[in-house]
């Protein structure tokens, strides 16, 4: 018996709200920093006081434009802010300033990688809007609810995908890539716990091959990639079960219940809202002139897809590539080091992934504030490549740099006494002595046991006090033994 579920395919579209990394709010000068005491970042404008008017923060516009450009959107030369009218205590003015029928960015796309195959996901629009405040129910008087307006007026980009996603895995891949792009642009910190990257999902199911879309539900409260996958998986199965048992999916908003591991209907919001959108008369049309657009186009920021391709071309293993793409600071670090020393990308990548990452683990700012400068690491690897230090010595040098006791790797190597000497006469003498003293191992080597060379190299290094490049010892030994 075949599983009836395989006869269906899900259709998923995602709406992402990304908090834009501006110093001040979108329509007033209040700071946007997270975690301040409630209602400490407020003013008459973001509290919706009588007479207060919005004045657009152009930095928020630039972030949205950068993102729009990064995903190939058409940037509207003229877009309109509209009022979305509804009553809620966290909404100070009784309307949210958003964009409606004339958004800033339209018609973009994002390429995701699904098991090695590229999938192109359409992005219908990216528009600017202000965030609402936050209702608090578990503080102070239990009979009262409270509102914190620190978040009210924080700039958001709403990013709406086309219904192009066909599985929870694709949805997660899309979100990961989207988030990475925003982080690369410095437009959003991508922090899902603090709510600076939020996602709502629209999902429906239809029989495989059907052209028409099924009735969709909207899933909210999915604030991690894991929950996105779980909520979608649950909801897809639920809808297929409804349809196959002869029922009909109800168009509604459903909340992901993290504890219950299910989605449930959001009660009390059944009636569909009429938001009475109309152009906000307090704000002029947002006009993007050619000069502004050209300047942002000219910035040519590094994007995750380009970095991924470049690192793959350098021959780095897939796991390392993923890591270096997802941790932008780490990838930036590697780029900066490669700019100084491009000969050994794999060796540099290993240092970055192992040593640099270990050094900045659990440090806010990550590799961006690593005490070992990328140029210093590049210089250190250059010393290794040139045979000036051995890897054990290099680790010691790195430790000196990390501890702030040194900044120049060559000087540190000298001071530590781990610099290798290049004395061919001494090397020849030592090699000859070791061949003479270790006749049993030499016999084995000559009989074909190549691994024995390691032991012999060790003997030579010991004679020379470790200050010779093992590669050179190896070569000299082989020359003497094979010759």
């Amino acid at each position: 018996m075949t599983d009836p579920r395989t006869a269906f395919e899900p259709v998923i579209g995602l709406e992402v709200h990304a908090q834009l990394l501006t110093q001040s709010k979108i329509f007033c000068g209040c700071p946007t920093a997270f975690g301040a005491p409630p209602n400490s970042h407020v003013c008459p404008v973001c509290l919706g006081h009588p007479g207060a008017l919005p004045a657009l923060n152009r930095a928020a516009v630039e972030h949205a434009m950068r993102f729009g450009l990064a995903i190939g959107c058409r940037i509207a030369p003229r877009s309109i802010f509209a009022r979305k009218n509804y009553f809620y205590p966290d909404l100070p003015k009784g309307y949210q300033i958003s964009q409606f029928d004339q958004p800033l960015c339209e018609h973009g796309q994002l390429v995701i990688d699904i098991d090695g195959a590229a999938r192109c996901i359409g992005i219908i629009r990216v528009h600017l809007e202000e965030d609402a405040g936050k209702n608090l129910h578990d503080v102070g008087d239990p009979n009262c609810s409270y509102v914190d307006f620190n978040r009210a007026g924080v700039p958001l980009a709403e990013i709406v995908s086309a219904p192009d996603l066909r599985s929870p895995a694709e949805a997660v891949a899309y979100l990961r890539e989207l988030r990475a792009i925003l982080i690369y642009l410095g437009s959003c910190d991508g922090n899902m716990q603090e709510g600076s990257f939020r996602c709502d999902a629209n999902v429906s199911v239809r029989r495989v091959g059907a052209a028409a879309l099924g009735t969709r539900t909207e899933l909210k409260n999915i604030n991690s990639f894991k929950f996105v996958a779980q909520a979608l998986e649950y909801e897809i199965v639920r809808q297929i079960d409804v349809v196959t048992s002869g029922g009909q999916v109800v168009q509604e908003t459903r909340l992901w219940d993290e504890a219950g591991h299910r989605t449930r209907s959001m009660r009390g919001k059944e009636e569909s809202h009429d938001y009475r959108y109309f152009p906000d008369p307090d704000l002029l049309p947002l006009v993007i002139d050619e000069g502004w657009l050209a300047r942002l186009r000219g910035e040519r920021p590094v994007l995750p897809a380009a970095r991924r391709a470049r690192l793959q071309a350098l021959g780095l293993p897939p796991a390392d590539v993923s890591l270096l793409v997802e941790d932008k600071a780490l990838g930036d670090y590697l780029d900066a080091a490669l700019a100084r020393h491009s000969k050994s990308p794999k060796a540099l990548a290993n240092w970055v992934i192992n040593d640099v990452q270990a050094l900045v683990k659990n440090v806010a700012g990550g590799a961006a504030i690593c005490p070992v400068a990328p140029a210093a690491l590049a210089a250190l690897v250059e010393l290794l490549d040139a045979g000036t230090v051995a890897s054990a010595g290099a680790k010691q040098v790195f430790a000196e740099l990390a501890a702030g006791r040194a900044t120049d790797p060559a000087a540190a190597a000298r001071a530590l006494g781990v610099e290798l000497v290049d004395d061919s006469a001494a090397l020849t003498t030592a090699v000859n002595q070791v061949i003479a003293n270790c006749s049993a191992e030499v016999e084995k080597y000559r009989a074909g046991k190549q691994q024995v060379i390691g032991f012999l190299v060790g003997q030579v290094l010991r004679q020379l006090g470790g200050k010779v490049d093992p590669k050179k010892v190896n070569q000299a030994l082989r020359r003497a033994l094979d010759g």
Binding site: L56, N85, P89, Y95, R276, F278, P281
Partner: protein, 492 residues
């Protein structure tokens, strides 16, 4: 001190400059007259202590030779929908009865910087919605010429206060005629500047795309000085224009030689214009012609749609602008204790008056799904046609002259039962707001009879050409003394 109540702003300013008068004397005199004429109900909040302190500071500046300019030490009053930090800002509404402004409106900040003394917050129709001041939660303001009559609205208090000498000038707001119509009813000069000329920051919004702050004074000169103080771009109001501010006071003395004045056929033909009003307006226009202006008949064909258009756009914007009065953050909250929805309903049910509710309901309907295109979008299209009417007219003329209101001040209670007749009293003023042009009302006559009532001439100018309008008003004042007429001193 009895002589002081006849002073114009310009005269008072000259006496202050000459040292013949101190700001403290002038301020105390105005405060005394506010008390004396309390029956007018022009004032919602007196700012006596602050005003006297500001007057003392002004006198000290003057003594130190550091006076700011023509407004330094001059007592002014502010319509109560414009914010003065620390003072109540009621907008004439119960919902804001106890709301104290957290900041100064930009116009108030600019008046302070000119050294003006702020005496009082003035009565108005609730949220500036009305044409008679009868929609105030603080009771109607009365017309100083006849206390049984309306001072006009919504800036009724601002016009009555200037007419009765309670202050030397005031600021009002004009969304559909709310400065010009009361100025005409009270026999003072009031200007609605071009949209964008004056910052709206700190002005309690009624209809954001139509609202504009403007000055009321006894003469065109007084209005010009006030306009110079408040005009100019404000980064906090995105709709305020980056247009240079000329010397308006100089424009008043420019004369009308060669000025082409358009007379819109529709305004003079529309029914309902009282014969005495038409006669006085025509006489004033003849004065301007004699002073060198040429008269040109013009047409503003879409005027007849103006009131319908206005009541769709203004109410739509108002329904959204007034959503913030929900009892959550400020203002009076009424909470029956049955949850959020009931709190909203009770707060707004008790906080808003009937006219405000009527407009919120109408505006909500206009914006609703399925009606937006038929009403709001259509009204915007009509608005464009009205704008085009003005553009075409102003290709042939420099200013337009018309009555300000179809009748002199009507009796209190006369039109409250029928909102539509009340709306029609703005028929000549509303197009100016929709068309994005500027307009001014200047006294041009008095009705005959035992209690004469003022009549206003409306002068309409191109966008940002307040100067031509002021020049024409100045020319009228050169040869007539309608602007020097004062209402009877006490209550009749």
């Amino acid at each position: 001190m009895a002589a002081l109540d006849g002073l114009s702003l310009a005269e008072a300013s000259a006496r202050l400059r000459q040292g013949a008068l101190t700001s403290q004397q002038l301020t105390a005199d105005c405060l005394a007259r506010i008390e004396q004429r309390s029956s007018l109900n022009a004032v919602i909040t007196q700012l006596a202590d602050q005003a006297l302190a500001e007057a003392a500071a002004s006198d000290k500046r003057r003594a130190d030779g550091a006076a700011f300019g023509p407004l330094d030490g001059v007592p002014l009053a502010i319509k109560d929908n414009i914010l003065v930090a620390g003072a109540p800002a009621t907008a004439g509404s119960n919902i804001l009865r106890r709301h104290v402004a957290a900041y100064d409106a930009t116009v108030v900040e600019r008046l302070r910087r000119s050294g003006a003394v702020l005496l009082a917050k003035l009565n108005l129709d609730e949220f500036a919605m009305g044409s008679s001041n009868e929609n105030s939660a603080f009771g109607p303001c009365r017309n100083p010429w006849d206390e049984t009559r309306a001072p006009g609205g919504s800036s009724g208090g601002a016009a009555a206060a200037v007419a009765a000498g309670l202050c030397l000038g005031s600021l009002g707001t004009d969304t559909g005629g709310s400065i010009r119509q009361p100025a005409a009813f009270c026999g003072v000069c009031g200007m609605r500047p071009t949209y964008g000329r004056v910052s709206r920051f700190g002005v309690i919004a009624f209809a954001s795309s139509l609202d504009q702050v403007g000055p009321i004074g006894r003469s065109a000169d007084d209005v010009a000085v006030l306009l110079n103080a408040i005009a100019g771009h404000d980064p906090r109001d995105s709709t305020s224009a980056q247009v240079a501010v000329p010397d308006f006071a100089a424009a008043v003395r420019r004369g009308v030689q060669g000025l082409r004045i358009g007379l819109p056929r529709e305004y003079f033909e529309l029914g309902g214009c009282a014969p005495e009003v038409a006669t006085a307006v025509r006489a004033a226009i003849a004065v301007l012609e004699a002073a060198g202006a040429t008269l040109v008949e013009i047409s503003l064909p879409h005027t007849r749609h103006a009131i319908a258009c206005y009541y769709l756009i203004a109410t739509a914007e108002a329904s959204s602008n007034l959503a913030r009065y929900d009892g959550v953050r400020y203002g009076d909250r009424v909470d029956p204790g049955h949850g959020l929805r009931e709190m909203y309903l009770a707060t707004r049910r008790q906080g808003f008056g009937a006219e405000v509710k009527r407009r919120i309901v109408l505006g909500t309907y206009v914006l609703s799904a399925g009606y937006y295109d038929a009403y709001y979008r259509r009204a915007q299209q009509v608005r464009t046609l009205i704008k085009r009417d003005f553009e075409q007219a102003f290709s042939r003329v420099d200013i337009i002259a018309a009555p300000t209101a179809p009748t002199p001040a009507f009796a209190l209670g006369e039109k409250t039962a029928d909102p539509l007749t009340m709306y029609l009293s703005d028929i000549f003023t509303i197009s100016v707001n929709l068309g994005g042009v500027c307009g001014l009302s200047v006294p041009c006559g008095l009705t005959t009879g035992p209690r004469p009532l003022p009549i206003g001439l409306q002068l309409i100018g191109r966008p940002f050409d307040e100067e031509s309008v002021l020049a024409a008003a100045g020319a009228l004042q050169q040869t007539t003394d309608w602007h020097r007429q004062r209402p009877p001193a006490g209550a009749p």
